[in-house]
């Protein structure tokens, strides 16, 4: 009996042992296919051993172990079995980021449990928003902010006890937002929470899916209705909503927690607005639909309809996942709606561009991310003080007749005993480009009217024609007086009131407004051919591999507020894990690329760079390097594996709370030659580099290019000079040729004298005349620019038209590169000369 049972048990053991190796295809591709086909997930990328010394590094084997663990066959099913058993047998109600609530409802814990966030952060975010709405709008867009509630706030009764307790702990965030919206005078904020509660009480249909973070089609319609009514009452009609199908789908939280849950039946609703017709629907300037239409991709929908039926002008919807399925229905209310993920413009230059480009901007902010989004979006466009007069430099104020200026604590106290009191403030030299304002933080004891006088030239006198009034309420007021650069440079006269009295002023600030400071470029100093690296796009809270069933994404919430200052990029870390994501560098910097950071740290700390070596991964300790940063300034050099540059990098400046300042950040080969990367975060920099250069248009090939009557083209130095005599200059590129189907990118490096707007027009099989329907536009800054345009092969078969700007002046086109798809390994890059 003993021997038989031992043998049988042993054989069971050996069978288990051999199973994975027997099941797994032994080739890399076969193994990946097996995982994709059977488990519907992306396998961890294989990382080879590149250098001999890696054979003796424990990290190498940790990496291999991680891959082995990830790639063990049917891993997802094992996790599913484990989690399901834990839930059913032991009543476990927490699975990583997911809470299991009552009746099997699932909630994402991140929606309420963000311990790195605190009241101070939230208040700062709201102050920035407040300031943005209160200052004078020197930009085109009418900005509206929509706060979308989280599922647990609408269905608290379905939460688990632990979930309710956690949510209660963070309830202050919701209360703060709600209170702010209820009392904000601008009328530009919409909180959807009460709308959802009202809708919930009226209908039995769910507004959120039980097993998903997102709202149902009913919920989406409640959201759309609320927003449309908010923008223009009377435009919405409930009868326009029609059902157009049902589908079955597994909830994203079910996947995230790896739990056994039934598929949700999903009803689809659409809006059929009579008389409204869609004219075009484009992705990134393309009229055809990219396969795998992703809700995070930028989408532009142009519609036409009867007068009054649509909201006119260009509208930008900055959204997160709440609009996942609602972009099309929403577009039925706008003549021109562009939908983008908010991260696309979270870089300050992106948002500033948007403010000037669009007539209307609607920002969807989920409560979960509200603090982060508001802080990052609006800090870039609120006033930045360039010069300040305060109690410490009181003598700079010259009082007028019968005005007494004195210090009271940290404030300036003005006492005036006669009517028409005034003081004179010194002017401050500011850069000629940009918009400025005088910000006055003033407290008065009775309603008053203040007036600012400015000068346009040194010898002018103050006059009513060059003045502006602001009315003051009792209490504290923030006044913004817009100024030109020249006006800010000359003395200003400020009349606090028209009658006698007193006021208290903490400070006068000359601020840069209507956008942030110019995008700060980090530059190195090691050699003259140092190139610059654009400010990183901040991607707080956006982990990779969303579709992955197994959660290996970023677990920790970011704890860094980020701001730009003259000295660099300032990070205010409230927790011990601040980080920021750098976009892929995508460059060949030799076998030992170096990332060099000059960092000011508040105390001795450990800086860490995380990198990836394959797609679909999350950052982890195994792929990271640490260096000690001194208190004060340190220069840190991280030598990275070459593959790391193909993927985003995560940089943790330190491991303790405090203020960090990144003074410069550059990438270079270890030998010393530095690399340049794209400077436009909002263009398609990320998509460009995997392509191989096919065509180069430079000074040798100007002959093939002609200009229209407003553009004279000639060779100049190392580029092609386009002298524009009107506001519609354009050049025609020669027909480039027949290329195989696929995506191509045209890159244009161009110097411009001023801020303007470039356009690339293309033709396809069906048309032979250039039109606005077939074009892509890019904002151009004064100075050097690199612009990217996505094209299809068919567009290259006919001549392209490039409008370098929409202003007279000169444009120096330094190079035009056409990039094609990556060739097969081993095939050398193909370079084709134009002509």
């Amino acid at each position: 009996m003993r021997a038989v049972s031992l043998r049988m048990a042993g054989m069971i053991f050996l069978a288990w042992l051999a199973l994975p190796l027997a099941m797994t295809p032994w080739t890399k591709a076969g193994n990946e296919k097996f995982i994709r086909d059977w488990e519907k997930r992306a396998p961890a990328a294989w990382t080879g051993i590149r250098h001999g010394r890696e054979w003796f590094q424990a990290g190498t084997y940790q990496r291999i172990s991680a891959i082995c663990e990830d790639r063990v066959p049917l891993r997802s099913f094992f996790i599913l079995a484990h989690n399901t058993a834990s839930e059913r047998l032991f009543g476990q109600d927490r699975f990583e980021k997911v809470d299991v609530g009552r009746d099997g409802w699932l909630f994402v814990r991140d929606a309420y449990d963000r311990p790195t966030e605190n009241l101070q952060h939230a208040r700062r975010a709201l102050r920035l928003l407040d300031e943005f709405f209160l200052k004078p709008g020197r930009y085109r867009a009418d900005v509206r902010v929509v706060i979308v509630p989280e599922k647990h706030l609408v269905y608290p009764e379905n939460m688990s006890r632990a979930g309710s307790r956690d949510a209660g702990r963070f309830r202050w965030r919701h209360d703060l937002l709600k209170d702010f919206m209820d009392h904000h005078p601008s009328g530009k904020l919409l909180g959807l929470w009460p709308h959802y509660l009202r809708a919930k009480s009226r209908t039995r249909a769910w507004l959120y899916y039980p097993h998903d973070t997102h709202h149902t089609a009913h919920g989406a319609m409640v959201m759309l209705k609320s927003i449309v009514e908010f923008l223009q009452p009377g435009l919405w009609n409930d009868r326009d909503v029609v059902q157009n199908g049902r589908s079955k789908k597994i909830g994203d939280l079910t996947l995230m927690a790896a739990l056994l849950r039934p598929h949700d039946w999903r009803m689809h609703l659409d809006l059929r607005r009579p008389g409204i017709r869609r004219v075009s629907r484009t992705w990134l300037g393309r009229s055809d639909v990219i396969p795998g239409d992703d809700w995070e991709d930028p989408l532009r929908i142009i519609s036409e309809g009867p007068a009054g039926g649509l909201l006119a002008g260009k509208t930008l919807l900055l959204h997160d996942s709440a609009f996942q399925y609602s972009r099309d229905p929403f577009s039925r209310f706008f003549t021109d709606l562009t939908c983008r993920h908010y991260l696309d413009v979270i870089a300050s230059d992106g948002f500033r561009y948007a403010l000037d480009e669009y007539d209307r901007i609607i920002v969807e902010v989920g409560e979960r991310m509200a603090v982060t989004i508001l802080q990052n979006l609006f800090q870039s466009v609120t006033a930045e003080s360039l010069a300040r007069v305060h109690a410490g430099n009181l003598r700079e104020i010259m009082p007028g007749r019968a005005v007494e200026v004195k210090r009271s604590g940290n404030d300036i106290l003005l006492n005036y005993t006669h009517a028409d009191p005034c003081i004179f403030l010194p002017g401050r030299k500011v850069p000629s480009q940009g918009d400025y304002a005088l910000r006055v933080d003033i407290s008065v004891s009775k309603p008053a009217v203040s007036q600012l006088f400015w000068l346009n030239a040194p010898r002018q006198t103050y006059s009513e024609a060059r003045s502006a009034f602001r009315s003051l309420q009792t209490g504290r007021n923030y006044l913004y007086f817009p100024l030109e650069a020249e006006q800010a440079g000359l003395p200003l006269r400020f009349d606090p009131d028209t009658a006698s009295g007193s006021c208290r002023i903490p400070a006068f600030d000359i601020c840069r407004v209507a956008g942030c400071s110019e995008p700060r470029i980090f530059s190195g100093t090691a050699s003259p051919d140092n190139s610059r690296y654009a400010l990183p796009v901040l991607e707080q809270g956006r982990g990779g591999g969303r579709a992955s069933l197994v959660q290996e994404n970023l677990a920790a919430s970011p704890a860094a507020g980020i701001a730009r200052s003259e000295a660099g990029l300032a990070l205010s870390a409230s927790g011990n894990d601040p980080w920021l994501i750098l976009p892929p560098v995508k460059a060949d910097l030799g076998p030992h690329p170096v990332m060099e950071v000059v960092l000011d740290a508040p105390e001795k700390t450990l800086s860490q760079i995380f990198y990836l070596d394959g797609p679909g991964q999350g950052f982890r300790e195994a792929l990271s390097q640490s260096l000690t940063a001194r208190a004060g300034s340190s220069r840190l050099r991280f030598v990275l594996p070459p593959a790391a540059l193909d993927y985003p990098l995560r940089f943790d400046p330190g491991c303790s709370p405090g203020e960090y300042l990144i003074k410069s950040l550059l990438f270079r080969p270890a030998a010393g030659k530095l690399h340049r990367s794209g400077t436009e975060a909002r263009t398609m920099v990320r998509q460009i580099y995997p392509y191989t250069m096919l065509l180069e248009v430079n000074e040798q090939t100007v002959g093939g290019i002609t200009g229209n009557v407003q553009a004279k083209v000639r060779r100049q130095g190392n580029g092609m000079l386009v002298a524009a005599t009107g506001d519609d200059p354009c050049i025609y590129l020669p027909r480039i040729g027949d290329f195989s189907d696929g995506d191509y990118i045209l890159s244009v490096r161009m110097d411009s004298q001023r801020e303007t707007f470039s356009q690339l027009f293309y033709l396809d099989r069906t048309v032979s005349a250039y039109s606005e329907a077939r074009q892509a536009g890019r904002a151009v800054h004064a100075g050097p620019n690199e612009l990217f345009f996505l094209l299809r092969a068919e567009h290259l078969r006919k001549p392209l038209r490039f409008d370098p700007g929409c202003h007279p002046g000169t444009y120096l086109i330094r190079s035009m590169h056409l990039y094609g798809a990556v060739p097969e390994p081993g095939e050398p890059p193909q370079v084709i000369q134009a002509n």
């Binding site: 288990w16 190796l21 082995c68 663990e69």
Partner: protein
């Protein structure tokens, strides 16, 4: 690499077993030696060269000792033995204790002279398993010197003994003479593989199902800085006692099972320690190979000849001080050793020893268990201050501000595992589950054997594949 990891179970082990059986009798030691190096390289990286260096060093010393023995040069032999022991222990002292000693020097210096400028922290990383393989090295040279075993001619054979992956990083500490006879000549059969497999699964279940589950409770309790309530404190310490026992004994079972698969009979390391009726009894059942190593190579040489009771007690105290210090360079471990040494001496003086039939055994068992788990606080705490705070909490002076154990909901899985672990306390003292499963010919044992292998292995596979990395506690020593 840990035994309870996907990489080991599903990739490393099948490949090594296949290579081992394909290699034939002559190549098997090489396969084990090489696989041991790969196993070590996997977790320790370049430190593998330290292991190779020690292998060569001890092999040369043993060769020199055996030559001296042949030539009957007693003093030369003693010289080589002393050098070999110093080399091994010096290596252990440097890598394990240099940081600690430097910190003590700095602290004492600052205390005596306020202007003392501290010496730099050496920042030496502890090579994994060094406490074990240096002891193996000492065991080899001393056994050769004492003529208990012969020196191995082939360095691969000796390398295999030192680096054999089942016992490389966390024991059992196999004294050389115990397996000297098996190194060149050992039986290899499928029956042994099957028997080893059952033992391996038994150990895997202990580690994965019990130890890794109860650790949730222990981690939560010991993770509280202030305000731990007495109830939570006791639950935490109970959980930790279960965790460490099931973790380490599970590892030992897996090691013995793996050893058996490749033809070795490794010594037992645990024998129901929580059923002990005294501290003396406890140390006969807990980490047996460690205490036996100290007995053979330290205590007995010190106690040669007729010694007074006081001298023997002092030796005993010293041995336990060393046992504690062996576990780690920390005052908590030193106190742990002193604590156990104190009870051992007390029991010796009062006549409460192993082998003596005690009345009210269940009562002594509970008392002993309580005494043992109280020492576990020292074992787990990061420093003496934390241990003191924990003791205060156990006595109700922790200023409890809530019960962190239930803060995130009751972890029923951990509670169930704790209950299952505690049940073993009530088994008869002579009943050893592993032994019963291996040797019993009864139908019940056969059914259990099959059921455990099929059922527990499935559960373990699910847990191993789906859980995160969980290293064995004894890897840190």
């Amino acid at each position: 690499m840990v035994f309870s990891s996907v990489t080991f179970i599903f990739y490393f082990l099948p490949i090594v077993l296949a290579a081992y059986f394909l290699a034939g009798p002559k190549g098997r030691n090489f396969v084990l030696f090489f696989s041991g190096l790969v196993f070590y390289l996997w977790g320790a990286g370049e430190v593998v060269f330290l292991l190779i260096f020690l292998v060569l060093l001890d092999w040369i010393f043993a060769w020199l000792i055996s030559r001296a023995l042949l030539k009957q040069q007693e003093r030369v032999k003693t010289l080589w033995v002393v050098l070999a022991v110093c080399a091994n222990m010096g290596m252990l002292a440097y890598f394990k204790y240099a940081n600690f000693f430097m910190a003590q020097v700095n602290q004492t210096g600052r205390w005596l002279w306020p202007g003392f400028s501290p010496l730099p922290d050496p920042g030496i990383l502890l090579p994994i398993g060094i406490s074990f393989f240096t002891f193996h090295g000492v065991s080899y040279v001393v056994d050769v010197a004492n003529r208990r075993a012969r020196a191995l001619k082939n360095p691969v054979d000796f390398g295999m003994y030192m680096s054999m992956f089942p016992q490389l990083v966390a024991g059992p500490i196999v004294r050389f003479y115990q397996i000297a006879g098996q190194i060149r000549n050992r039986p290899v059969s499928w029956d042994q593989v099957f028997s080893g497999a059952v033992r391996f699964v038994h150990g895997l279940s202990k580690k994965v199902i019990i130890a890794d589950s109860v650790c949730v409770l222990a981690d939560q309790a010991f993770g509280v800085k202030t305000g731990l309530g007495a109830g939570a404190g006791w639950i935490g310490i109970l959980a930790y006692s279960m965790q460490i026992y099931f973790d380490f004994s599970g590892y030992s079972d897996m090691a013995i099972g793996l050893g058996r698969m490749v033809g070795f009979e490794l010594p037992e390391n645990f024998r129901r320690p929580y059923s002990s009726v005294s501290i003396t009894d406890f140390w006969q059942r807990w980490h047996i190979t460690l205490t036996q190593w100290f007995r053979d190579y330290v205590f007995l040489p010190m106690s040669v000849g007729k010694k007074s009771e006081i001298r023997i007690s002092a030796n005993l105290m010293l041995i336990f001080l060393l046992v504690g210090f062996w576990h780690g360079a920390n005052w908590t471990f030193i106190l742990f050793g002193v604590y156990h040494g104190f009870w051992m001496v007390l029991e010796r003086m009062t006549g409460q020893r192993l082998g003596r039939k005690v009345s009210f055994a269940w009562m002594w068992r509970i008392v002993t268990y309580l005494l043992v788990i109280l020492s576990m606080v020292l074992f787990r705490a990061g420093d003496v201050g934390q241990a003191w705070a924990y003791y205060r909490s156990l006595l109700g002076f922790g200023h409890a501000s809530g019960s962190p154990l239930w803060e995130t909901g009751i972890p029923w899985q951990a509670v169930a595992a704790l209950a299952a672990g505690l049940v073993t306390l009530f088994f008869p003292g002579t009943f050893v589950t592993g032994k019963y499963l291996e040797t019993s010919d009864s139908k019940l044992a056969a059914g259990l054997r099959l059921g455990m292998t099929a059922g527990a292995l499935t559960v373990c596979a699910v847990l191993v594949i789906s859980r995160h990395f969980s290293p064995f506690i004894y890897f840190q020593f």
